[in-house]
């Protein structure tokens, strides 16, 4: 089959962007996890000042398009910190995702019954110890379904890093489409790749969820 052969060649070319997409997504998710958990903790357990800081972060970042954040990290701060396109792109995605993950983890922290904290304090744990070894482990498990959803969103948002020249899947698709003049095949191949990545991600997170499910 001609079309099949064509699709395979196209796929072979685009797949070179696959690892870039995967790494951008992984870095963004990890950065987002750290920011999300920290700001969620600040909002649930912090004093007035930290609550305000975390709320402002969440509100401002969610109000700004991700592309703008990418531009700020790549161009605006270039005089002070010269980030590579990959770092600027994935950090920006991470900051953005952190704001959404903050909401997820805030809800999860609040969903852990108050008695868990009380019981932890009753055996002499400090507040920090109680949060770290009792409340947070449960909150992370509760957050998993929503977090999995966020992970697939970040995977798709990773296409945005092309604006600063990171050759991920979508950019390679545009390149091959411009060369062969067969956008249908090029974007079809990209669709297959994203579909595969999303399925893998959800399968993996589903497994993690079953493995660590809280029985209440």
């Amino acid at each position: 089959m001609d079309i099949l052969q064509n699709l395979l060649t196209t796929l072979e070319f685009i797949i070179q962007g696959l690892w870039i997409t995967v790494w951008v997504t992984v870095v963004a998710l990890v950065v987002g996890l750290v920011f999300g958990v920290l700001t969620a903790l600040m909002r649930v357990y912090g004093n007035r000042f930290w609550r305000q800081v975390a709320t402002v972060y969440s509100v401002v970042i969610r109000a700004v398009p991700v592309v703008v954040i990418i531009f700020i990290l790549f161009f605006v701060i270039a005089e002070y910190v010269n980030l590579s396109p990959f770092l600027a792109g994935s950090l920006a995605l991470g900051f953005a995702s952190g704001a959404y993950q903050s909401e997820i983890f805030r809800g999860a922290l609040q969903a852990v019954p108050a008695g868990q904290m009380t019981a932890a304090r009753a055996i002499g744990m400090s507040k920090v110890q109680a949060i770290w070894s009792i409340v947070l482990p449960q909150a992370l498990r509760l957050a998993l379904p929503a977090w999995g959803n966020e992970a697939t969103l970040v995977l798709k948002d990773s296409t945005l890093v092309f604006v600063v020249g990171v050759p991920e899947i979508l950019r390679r698709t545009q390149q091959v489409s411009a060369r062969t003049n067969e956008p249908f095949i090029a974007f079809g191949a990209a669709m297959l790749l994203y579909l595969g990545l999303t399925l893998l991600t959800t399968q993996f997170l589903g497994w993690v969820e079953r493995r660590y499910r809280l029985q209440m």
């Binding site: 070319f13 709320t55 402002v56 401002v60 060369r179």
Partner: protein, 276 residues
């Protein structure tokens, strides 16, 4: 509430401050001596032994990526020739066209080669070299036409079409009609070039004047004949963009481009990449 507003304000001010701090770059100094030592960006490039060039590799035949992932096309061949003259390696970075100017402004790349025209708007933000390729126009006639056009002015007195509001239309009005060589009612103005091509094929007009690059494909599709490719009717050309104020770099690149034009290199890679 008041405190929250204060924090918002602080954040916005911080962002603005970041944005407002326009980069302070050392002005490129030109030494008047006989053997000027290279300064500024040119010195940096020579010291690094590497010229980092941004392009938008989705515009064949100027720039694209082949199946093996190599940058190919007219611009790519040309910039490599420029690099060879400079004695440095050329590193090409792919970016969306819209972010190229900002990238060269912020020093993320040294130069841009992307079939880019030096418009007045862009010229305020960056500097441009002399054009390495002039824009060219084509006169098109019907497939079986006997008209011969050896230079642009030979079109005088014939019925002719052009796209509305283009430089080609302006050239017809200013050079042919205003001088009384062609009657005003001999000129037709079209919304789209393909409609004009149809009228040429039908014999409603004798000639069509348009940008040479799309003209090749259009002529082929409609069985028309390209009578002349010329720079006379066109304006401007494609240039390399470099950071603002880098006079030494501009001088050096201008010299190299002129040399490559003069020794026929530009002509040769133009043909190799199938450009008119």
């Amino acid at each position: 509430m008041k405190k929250q507003a204060a924090i918002y304000l602080l954040l916005i001010v911080a962002l603005l401050a970041l944005g407002a701090c326009t980069p302070v770059r050392p002005a490129a100094t030109t030494t008047g001596g006989d053997a000027p030592a290279a300064t500024g960006k040119l010195a940096e490039i020579q010291a690094a032994g590497k010229l980092v060039v941004g392009t938008s590799a989705d515009y064949p035949p100027y720039e694209s990526i082949d199946a093996d992932g190599n940058f190919v096309g007219f611009d790519m061949d040309l910039i490599r020739a420029v690099g060879a003259e400079l004695g440095v390696e050329v590193e090409i970075q792919d970016m969306p066209f819209d972010t190229l100017i900002a990238s060269v402004q912020e020093g993320k790349i040294d130069a841009v080669i992307a079939a880019m025209q030096a418009t007045a708007e862009r010229d305020e933000q960056v500097d441009f070299t002399i054009p390495y390729r002039m824009t060219k126009d084509a006169f098109i006639g019907a497939g079986d036409t006997t008209i011969v056009i050896e230079q642009a002015e030979d079109a005088a007195g014939m019925s002719i079409g052009a796209q509305t509001g283009t430089v080609q239309e302006r050239w017809i009005q200013e050079t042919l009609v205003a001088a009384g060589l062609t009657a005003a009612d001999q000129v037709s103005s079209y919304e789209r070039a393909d409609l004009a091509a149809l009228d040429v094929a039908n014999g409603r007009i004798e000639l069509l004047l348009m940008d040479a690059e799309p003209a090749v494909a259009l002529a082929e599709q409609n069985g028309l004949k390209i009578l002349l490719i010329t720079e006379t009717t066109a304006e401007g050309g494609k240039s390399i963009a470099i950071p603002d104020g880098e006079t030494e770099l501009k001088a050096e690149l201008d010299r190299i481009i002129q040399k490559l034009i003069d020794d026929g290199t530009v002509q040769r890679i133009q043909e190799e990449n199938g450009l008119p």
